[in-house]
């Protein structure tokens, strides 16, 4: 038996506390029967929930000081709708708030999303895991009371390239087995979906290197994916593609000498977390301009 990392883990189909408390009515409206029958209990719940909500209330993020650069224009395509399922959001948005077609956000550029691992690399990348990233995305979206409770929601019409596991290169001779894109987080009722492109996702989309150095380009992969959704996607949603900013520990910097890797990689990861938050904040601003919030 050996300890082995889990490469992917699906986001659970129940919300975090931050997400649920964005709609405190949920707790007031779902009292255990014995509490409902007891007026004092119901009153205590109302009091605690109100206090809790006041304590947890967070301001919506301010607009970014520097607007994202090189943002590409959103594209609109006609699509079929995805049937709504159980959702943690306060209730269905009016149908008129849903886009008539898929609307794909530009790639908000915070972090270059590039890195390489291998024998000659002097500035190794530090990656965010899918789960860490989704946590950040959900926390930021919860600030504007947007919960994306569903995961692995298929996007009809968008297929990812298949990778041949045996030779670690994009399959060329045999026709690729299509893999339908399933987005990481979505609210099919309110019509918002987010896909996060991790380092592993980028490898899966762009293929592995045959050399001793493996390059990563999450931003490039995110741009390709957004392009695919624009061109072939058939989902009636506001769609955002975010990517791992990929920060680095640069061993050429003399200040790194003698410092533990764990400490430096934590700093790099924190930097990536901050950049990803900025991506989400831009996405929120963009959703506002689209009338989706």
């Amino acid at each position: 038996m050996k300890a082995r990392p889990v490469e992917r883990y699906e986001t659970p189909a129940y919300p975090t506390r931050v997400e649920l408390m964005a709609s405190p009515g949920w707790l007031r409206d779902n009292l255990p029967p014995s509490w409902r029958a007891n007026l004092e209990m119901a009153g205590a719940v109302a009091l605690f929930v109100t206090l809790g909500t006041l304590g947890c209330e967070q301001r919506p993020p301010a607009a970014p000081a520097n607007p994202p650069v090189q943002a590409t224009q959103p594209a609109v395509i006609q699509v079929a709708s995805v049937p709504p399922t159980a959702s943690g959001t306060p209730g269905p948005a009016p149908e008129s708030r849903l886009p008539a077609a898929a609307v794909v956000a530009p790639i908000f550029q915070h972090g270059d999303g590039r890195g390489a691992t291998g024998c000659v690399v002097v500035a190794p990348p530090v990656f965010l895991s899918e789960e860490e990233a989704l946590q950040i995305i959900r926390e930021e979206l919860a600030r504007v009371r947007l919960s994306l409770p569903q995961s692995k929601v298929p996007v009809p019409g968008v297929e990812l390239p298949a990778i041949d596991d045996e030779i670690n290169t994009p399959r060329r001779s045999a026709p690729p087995s299509p893999q339908q894109l399933k987005v990481d987080a979505a609210d099919t009722v309110r019509g918002v979906a987010v896909e996060f492109v991790s380092g592993q996702d980028a490898l899966a989309m762009q293929g592995h290197s045959m050399s001793s150095v493996q390059g990563f380009d999450t931003r490039g992969a995110a741009e390709s994916l957004a392009k695919s959704v624009r061109e072939t996607g058939r989902s009636k949603m506001y769609f955002g593609v975010l990517y791992d900013p990929i920060s680095h520990v640069d061993f050429r910097d003399p200040s790194t000498q003698g410092r533990p890797w764990e400490e430096m990689s934590k700093e790099a990861k924190d930097a990536s977390r901050k950049l990803l938050r900025e991506q989400v904040q831009d996405f929120v601003q963009w959703l506002r301009t689209q009338g989706a919030l």
Binding site: A3, V6, T16, L27, N30, S34, W35, E132, Q135, E139
Partner: protein, 379 residues
Amino acid sequence: MHLTLHLTPSCNMRCDYCYAPPQPGEAMSEATAARALQLGASIGSGSCGVIFFGGEPLLQRDLIEATVSHARALERQGKGRFHFKATTNGLLLDDAFLEFAVREEVLVAMSFDGVREAQDRHRKLADGTGSYDVLLSRLVRLLEVRPYSSVLLVVSPDTAPLLSQSVQLLLELGCRYLVVSLDHAAGWSEQSLGVLQEQYERLAKLYVEWTRAGRKFYLSPFEVKLASHIHGSEYRKERCELGRRQVSVAPDGSLYPCVQFTRAGRDSAWCIGDVQRGIDEPARAAIRMRAEQQKEPCRSCAIESRCNNTCGCLNWQSTGNVNVVSPVLCRHEQMLLPIVDKVGAQLYQARNPLFLHKHYNPAFPVLSLLDDASRFDGG
């Protein structure tokens, strides 16, 4: 700050999976216990949890009473606030001690492995016979007098097939707070972990049934794993962090970052001070830093933030290194999370009110007590 006072290295039972088996040696003195209280009160806000531990702490009942009495005197002088818990095998748990525990608000946690076959397999009396018959009545009495007492159940490869039965028995006996832990030092195989997985799946069904029936209970590790998602980034602060919130005090007054390290002794690298000199902060920080180093196989793991890999004490017990995760823990966490997440999804999608309040309402413990009190008053 929590202080675990190892009152004595002696024990009146011979549980074969014990990570701190009985040893010869002296019990803690009253002076050492008093000095430990002063140390605990001098750290942070002055609020100090004291856990009476052993060996078997009830072998030192007089010392427990003296320590509580000393703590109350310190409180009256405005020198700290204390709360207490005793972790016992139950053999010396009698009405006199329970009366004391109620009067002085000492919580009691009792070890009990469940059905007869499980309890008798490893939890043996000093003469080597099983302890089920002797201890069942003690447990029932404890739950009558202190219904919120926690029960600690250890599961080993050979008792894994009995886990769901054991949990059911304990809940039927009135247990509301049940902590299930793995004997990580045991020889777990893929086969025995497969048996454990089946048992967790059974417990998952029961968890859903009981919650739907409005039964209030705490069942670790299910609650912990639900919290690992629901509490989000806050969960990181709740995870075990070696020596950060809890310090163990050996009978001779030496200090350690967690319970298992006391057996390493005063001259070991795990000793982080003593009650006279206080905590050796550089030594504590060095141990914590070692434990907090990212573990190699965990670096890219998608469930790292929800895993129990930060428990340096457990890592040390199972691999001999605070920073090396055991394959058994790794396999266990990967097995457990999907089962627990299915439970969470089922109950959330059903909008189960008890589930929602238990896991999402930060005031649930208080509200639940109010609810219990009003039921009691009403009937």
